[in-house]
């Protein structure tokens, strides 16, 4: 029963199916009749509340890791993250970090406006990855002027796309002793 519960809490589609057809879903997941009778007793509103709290906790942790992307995308950040969360389950001890890195990668495959938001996500991903590694050097290439983007989004939110023309930029992260630095040019 725990296996099914874990999936009900984390898989939106399965949860909906279970709440509509608990016997069928229970049988499909190899529950005994006694277990199906037990699991049917759980209140839908409690299951939904807990599942929502899990999603929002996961979302909130990733927002902390990708704050500029969150700021730029606004409500769309949650929309994209919900789509991502239904497809990906982190496996490592650092699950929220793993979520953030994979989510930033996921955004690259989406059609997002403004288009340079993807570079911003990749920048935050690269920074996050470097800061949580033992690497001494990292170099990433971007299609837009990511230095200007980071500065503007940090300051007061997104500017119109026309203000960020395509311009190849490179970001370098260095670790010297305990200190880390990054340069964008």
């Amino acid at each position: 029963m725990q296996n099914l519960l874990a999936r009900i809490f984390t898989d939106e589609d399965l949860r909906l199916r279970f709440l509509l057809e608990p016997e069928k879903t229970g049988a499909e997941n190899n529950l005994s009749e006694a277990e199906i009778e037990q699991i049917k007793q759980l209140l839908p509103e409690q299951i939904n509340f807990f599942a929502d709290s899990l999603f929002y906790k996961r979302l909130h942790e990733v927002e902390k890791f990708l704050p500029l992307t969150r700021k730029l995308l606004g409500k769309d950040f949650e929309k994209y993250f919900r789509e991502f969360a239904n497809q990906f389950v982190p496996q490592t001890i650092k699950k929220h970090l793993e979520d953030a890195l994979e989510f930033a990668a996921f955004l690259q495959s989406k059609k997002i406006e403004p288009i340079w938001a993807k570079d911003l996500a990749r920048f935050e991903q690269a920074r996050l990855s470097f800061n949580n590694s033992e690497k001494r050097f990292s170099l990433k290439r971007f299609d837009f002027d990511v230095r200007k983007i980071v500065r503007e989004v940090s300051r007061e939110g997104a500017k119109a796309q026309s203000e960020f023309p395509k311009r190849k930029t490179y970001a370098v992260w260095l670790r010297v002793g305990k200190r880390t630095k990054h340069f964008i040019y």
Partner: protein
């Protein structure tokens, strides 16, 4: 690092004398956001609770942080992912890493939760409740005993969680469940008074009745922090100041039990550090009027033991 294997398989027969655990005092859960303030006000914070998972597979930077914290504070590791309630058993690779961390820190005790966080390859991402059944009890007892095989020398204390999902087919009340669990596994109790209060409001029971059923002599440590309302429900967001009702629970526990430590568990919505210190001060006044003196004596004793 050496390969750890379960050792001292018979130590489960030794009884843990909770009474002789050191009285650490009142502290906070370590959060990077107030690291600077923490060191500035070191004398006012008796000990720190660290999230064990942050220091497993740690980077050089995190290891340096741990070393710094260790030098200045007694540390209590608080685990998140042992999933003691998992019927499939505990993750022994994770357990080995946790055992190494505990061997390094040599804390007075370490803590985990009465919950499950993963099952069938799915990581739930947070603490999910177990049904209060004989079957769940058997699972928890088995898993706790396995943990103790890997970590035989350091007492384990178990925390009560908040839960929205109730299992109507539960065979006993939560307090009786917890009592049997800690007594039969010889564990201590990390009583989260905020969680207790929240559950009592959300599920309609009297927290005093609950408290009566718990083994007072096994309450080793407390967690406290404020809650907030979401419609008719109270939520443990770890984001607000401790409110009066929770202080009442805190006070009642301190009267009934010789608690060894209390941790303010603030995770979000960080206020000026002066507010954190004020809550710690309030806790100390309730915890024991001369708690600061006792706390320092025990901290010094702990350091001498470690040296």
């Amino acid at each position: 690092m050496s390969n750890l294997t379960p050792k001292h398989l018979n130590t489960c027969s030794l009884s843990t004398d909770m009474e002789n655990l050191p009285k650490l005092g009142v502290g906070i859960g370590f959060r990077e956001q107030f690291r600077a303030d923490l060191f500035l006000h070191r004398a006012k914070i008796d000990f720190l609770e660290i999230t064990a998972d942050h220091y497993l597979d740690a980077t050089t930077q995190k290891r340096a942080e741990l070393e710094l914290l260790k030098q200045h504070f007694p540390l209590i590791p608080h685990g998140l992912n042992l999933s003691l309630g998992s019927a499939e058993g505990v993750d022994e690779k994770y357990l080995e890493k946790l055992a190494r961390l505990i061997e390094e820190i040599r804390p007075a005790w370490f803590s985990e939760h009465i919950c499950f966080t993963k099952s069938g390859g799915v990581d739930i991402g947070h603490l999910a409740p177990v049904a209060f059944t004989r079957e769940s009890l058997a699972v928890l007892k088995r898993n706790v005993r396995r943990v103790k095989e890997f970590i035989p020398q350091t007492p384990l204390i178990l925390e009560n969680i908040t839960y929205m999902v109730r299992f109507p087919f539960s065979e006993m009340g939560e307090a009786d469940f917890i009592r049997e669990l800690v007594e039969e596994t010889d564990c201590g109790l990390l009583l989260d008074v905020t969680n207790l209060y929240i559950n009592s409001v959300n599920h309609g029971y009297d927290w005093r009745d609950f408290l009566e059923k718990l083994p007072a002599e096994r309450i080793v440590q407390l967690h406290f922090v404020g809650s907030h309302r979401h419609g008719n429900l109270l939520i443990d967001g770890h984001a607000h100041r401790t409110e009066a009702e929770i202080w009442n629970v805190f006070r009642e526990v301190c009267v009934k039990s010789n608690v060894k430590g209390a941790i303010l568990e603030r995770d979000e919505n960080f206020p000026p550090f002066a507010e954190i210190l004020e809550e710690i001060r309030t806790a100390k006044e309730i915890f024991q009027p001369d708690s600061r003196r006792h706390g320092k004596h025990d901290r010094l004793a702990l350091r001498r033991t470690k040296d």
